[in-house]
Symmetry: C2
Subunit: 202 residues, 2 copies
């Protein structure tokens, strides 16, 4: 028997693979695949084309690790982005989040993770050596560490800051504090403490 | 600018289309696509191949409406499935659910929806005419209505039962009652009432 979501026909293989995506399980993968097949003109065929195009064209930017369709990504090739400012992020998802923020006009460096003794991830497993090389090329004046406010993220930020110190360039990190629209009553104590320490005169 | 999940590059198009699948939104579609790209050997490339294969090969069974890779589906072509019993289901997902149950050894008829005056869906919009033709071919001895226990599902079941009555074949529907493992305290009153009315001597 085939095509019931637990075997090896094309439909079953597709369901099995969809189920491995984050946010989907076997049940929702089945639902998604059935919806695709039912609406093949607007979902299945365009999705197959789009996925094929991405698989053929998408690669990593040689310089920063962002998603690119050539050797360099659109940020690294854009003449409007300041080459002197490098924003260091953990992942491409974080790079996109920064871009949605719409306030940064420099370039990026995607680490591809954070240091983790537990998982055996050291500087060599991340894009840290290439970051140090980039930062030391004489053109860079500031490195902004936009790493997640987790233990591993902050450990990584401090490690990078230590490595960059001899270069004598400015190393900054994102401000910590109350998020826009945030209510104190729902914030964790650490955030409130950090926001108090970093308080500003109005 | 491109590739941040809100424009027209291949990656953005893929995200936009993934976001239209049930169970995924813009945020989870972004996450899924980034995961695919990060793990291209095990996710992106095989998924692109599987989706392409499904888009090229999958079609509807001419007889029952199930998913098929030829004119007829695997159930309709299997010599081991009894042609005299037709199980009527609303969707391919329900057909798969019946197959997972593993107790039915006849064939199917997928309606493609249920009657709905509100949505303007009459018998002609569903696979009801072809069901009546199939049921009247002299080979069919029983039609099992496995429609969902919703108002529209039951309305559809009664409509089909009325249409089939002149043919003099057996028309049955799934039993209603307490689900296996079900606790009375958590069941709705309608189910408990139906289970009481359909009680059996032990």
């Amino acid at each position: 028997m085939a095509d019931y979501g637990n075997g090896t026909s094309p439909v079953e293989r597709l369901i099995g693979m969809m189920a491995r995506l984050p946010g989907l399980g076997p049940r929702s993968a089945r639902r998604a695949v059935l919806t695709m097949i039912r609406r093949r003109d607007v979902l299945l065929d365009p999705l197959a084309k789009a996925l094929d195009e991405v698989a053929r064209t998408v690669r990593e930017c040689d310089l920063c690790g962002n998603i690119a369709s050539g050797p360099l990504c659109e940020v690294c090739t854009s003449p409007e982005r300041r080459a002197g400012e490098i924003c260091v992020v953990e992942s491409v998802a974080d790079l996109w989040a920064m871009e949605r923020g719409g306030m940064f006009n420099g370039r990026y460096h995607v680490l591809g993770g954070v240091l983790s003794a537990l998982d055996g991830i050291g500087p060599e497993q991340l894009r840290i050596p290439s970051l140090l090389a980039r930062a030391g090329d004489g053109e860079v004046s500031e490195v902004i560490l936009a790493l997640n406010a987790t233990i591993d993220g902050q450990t990584t930020a401090h490690y990078i800051a230590d490595q960059l110190a001899p270069l004598g360039i400015r190393v900054t990190s994102l401000a910590q504090g109350v998020p826009i629209g945030g209510e104190l009553d729902y914030l964790d104590d650490g955030t409130i403490g950090a926001a108090l320490l970093a308080r500003r005169t109005l």
